[in-house]
Symmetry: C2
Subunit: 461 residues, 2 copies
């Protein structure tokens, strides 16, 4: 960007924004230019706007459209695929300060929130009303609802409750140019017109900037019971997951941790996880009086697939500790080196092949791999551990990461179950979607963003 264009941009932005909202300080920009994805390109932004209200977002998108300047929407930048990374000369448009819960309505069982509300804050606020907002991405303590919607975030709840998009009823969003569009509804049902709400969910900031979200809530679940099962091989554990679902069950949580993950978690924080096991499953039923029967039924299936031991948590505190252990997966593996987290989702019946394949790729590469995740959904997070200072290891880590996505596709799966495409998985998108769907994607993008200013280079490239 030439200096002239740069100063024009800043002048034009300043004309419609309070001083506290706009920053072009290089240190501030440097602190906001990337999300949590490793090995992804990061550009040099021209400005950061921390929007406090709808008018700020409209102003930025009006000026940017007119000047042809790229805009990169940001939430808490906890994303794992580079979707919030700066591109050169862009305006970083954060909606983190638009963080009010506008209302929680028990009659409609909905919440209306601004995009900067943190998932954990919303979850706690609705619990206080006897309601439940299930989506619980690993980042839930810090990530924002706007970011969760933009990436269609998942979590451990999904096996029973679904993903973020399943709870989004309506949106207010701003289009490039500054026009405001309302999509969807606040009512329980509605089929008037095309589902633009769902089109914006998971569009990773490439179609519009979300400024308000109407979320569906469900009644608080009954008391949950959690159990741990240990296995002599990770393939047995994977087959046990398929077996539970084939028996017609639907646990409220079904996670797999393999041995490298178990050891890393214990090393990160002594949790007493069973290090002698090749894999463990964490399973939960939240059906109150039915839960102990559910756990017994799961245990029976696990036993038929070689489970060594099945132990039920004694109380809510022990159950919370087990879930916390699972949430430590990424920081714990991070103690071993840099971590490239994959996010393939395969049919549950193919999961044993996936974990075998990941182990084989790790062995061949000489890098440490771990293969844990949301097994009940077939959505695993194979991790490749590498030394970021060693170019040879970086190269091999990239190769293993890529081979895992190829394997996921070959098994009938997807390259991303919940993390999004961003920059990191862009090269594989066309393979997954095929040429006709890719053409439709490009044309839909053009409908919303004819000048291509919104998060350019992300998702579609």
């Amino acid at each position: 960007m030439t200096t002239h264009v740069h100063s024009t941009l800043l002048d034009r932005l300043r004309a419609g924004l309070p001083d506290t909202v706009l920053s072009s300080d290089p240190d501030v920009l440097a602190g906001h230019r990337e999300d949590a994805a490793p090995l992804s390109p990061v550009g040099v932004p021209a400005a950061l706007v921390r929007a406090g209200e709808l008018g700020h977002v409209r102003h930025v998108l009006g000026v940017a459209q007119e000047l042809g300047v790229p805009v990169v929407p940001q939430g808490a930048r906890t994303g794992l695929s580079g979707g919030a990374n700066a591109v050169d000369g862009c305006v970083l448009l954060s909606t983190e300060r638009m963080n009010t819960i506008e209302r929680i309505d028990p009659v409609e069982q909905i919440a209306v929130v601004r995009p900067g509300v943190r998932n954990a804050d919303l979850s706690r606020a609705v619990r206080a009303e006897g309601l439940y907002y299930p989506p619980d991405p690993g980042s839930w303590e810090t990530s924002t609802i706007g970011g969760n919607v933009a990436t269609n975030a998942g979590g451990m709840c999904c096996v029973k409750y679904g993903v973020t998009a399943d709870f989004v009823r309506g949106l207010e969003a701003v289009l490039p140019g500054g026009e405001v569009v309302r999509t969807g509804r606040s009512t329980a049902k509605g089929v008037a017109g095309y589902d633009l709400t769902r089109l914006l969910c998971g569009s990773e900031g490439t179609l519009a900037v979300i400024t308000e979200v109407t979320l569906a809530l469900v009644p608080e679940p009954e008391t949950a019971l959690t159990a741990v099962a240990t296995f002599g091989s990770v393939q047995d554990a994977a087959r046990a997951v398929a077996g539970v679902m084939a028996a017609g069950h639907r646990p409220s949580l079904l996670e797999l941790l393999d041995a490298p993950t178990i050891r890393a978690v214990n090393a990160h924080r002594p949790m007493g996880l069973p290090e002698e096991a090749a894999a463990m499953l964490l399973v939960q039923s939240d059906r109150g009086p039915l839960a102990s029967g559910d756990i017994a039924a799961y245990a029976k299936v696990f036993g038929g697939h070689g489970a060594q031991e099945v132990a039920t948590a004694d109380d809510a505190a022990e159950s919370d500790m087990l879930l916390e252990a699972r949430r430590l997966l990424l920081p714990a593996l991070g103690d071993l080196g840099s971590v490239l987290v994959d996010d393939v989702c395969v049919p549950r019946g193919r999961m044993a092949e996936l974990v075998e394949g990941v182990a084989a790729l790790g062995a061949t590469s000489g890098l440490v791999t771990a293969c844990s995740g949301h097994a009940g959904d077939g959505n695993m997070h194979p991790c490749v551990i590498f030394d970021a200072a060693d170019p040879g290891q970086v190269e091999r880590a990239r190769e293993v990461f890529a081979a895992i996505m190829d394997l996921g596709l070959a098994l009938g799966g997807t390259i991303t179950g919940e993390h999004g495409v961003g920059l990191l998985k862009r090269p594989w998108l066309a393979t997954e979607l095929g040429p006709v769907a890719m053409r439709l994607h490009r044309e839909v993008k053009r409908v919303f963003d004819p000048k291509g200013i919104l998060n350019p280079g992300k998702v579609l490239g």
Copy 2:
């Protein structure tokens, strides 16, 4: 259409289709040219193609695109808004014969079906595997999955389980011109690219023709318990519904029948419904051992809103009978005259105002109105009864129908909760969506159907 164009069309269609698939017999065409919507325009079709396989659909959409001939996709033509009505010179493209259940997969808890499979046939087939496909539109015995997806059909299950689109994981569809696109996935999760699956759901045949559907299933629910509560006013019943939800409950079914509906159902088939009541609520919990506690909790709320009596069904047979009574709503009201069925969905907290408003509109018009429906969703089906042979009554019925939609919008609702826009509600769509969303709709339509041959005049006009 000139005779020359007509014969060219038939020749071109014939060249790629077996004789048994193509018909231009005027009597056959006349029998297939409309759906179940009253007072909607019906054109004169040029041909009917009863596709038996993907290739037939591709051929029709290839020829039609080339010749610029409109195509109207059809399922069982049970729709209530004219979406499947012929337009002049069109090819009626029925997928009713593509009716195979390709597979039911208990490990993935999915079914893969062709569009012509009847909802009831799928529902029964998955029950035999211990699984459950919830969407249950009133037409479920005859309507097809393809039609259910195209209209995003609802039913009585929605209050707990959601609508058809909530169960659609992936689609195969044919675009104008004949290209095949696959959207979505068969895995439990996936966020690669835009949600084109959801965009096609509820698009009423205006974007693509659906040729295969991958559906998510859930485990069969526990034993259900059903109860009936009677009220001295329909407003009390409506407030009781809001009260149940506000108390944090989520019944598996929550339907309201007003006095005109109760009387019509009893007259249609003696069901012993309580004729002395101004309204009744039908409520169900399908949580097995929790159900009796649930029903007691609902009864307590109902009592606080003036319920006269709350009676629990003695057994499954009595429960089925009550649900059957509810399903007779439309045929029963049809005994009284022609019926214009509205489908507004309002916030539950505004439902009492809706039922009051409908009664007032009926009284002013001098026509019989009834106001029953999926109260748990705020999705009511106000019905206007009229004599189709009396032009004055037809005119007044149209006015009341229109005024009910205006009222629904004024109460913060939508013009259609589950029936779709079709032809019947087209004039109100722009009011509900607003100019920005309407422009996006038109442009999205153009992406999929640049020549405007698919179901022209429907939804967007």
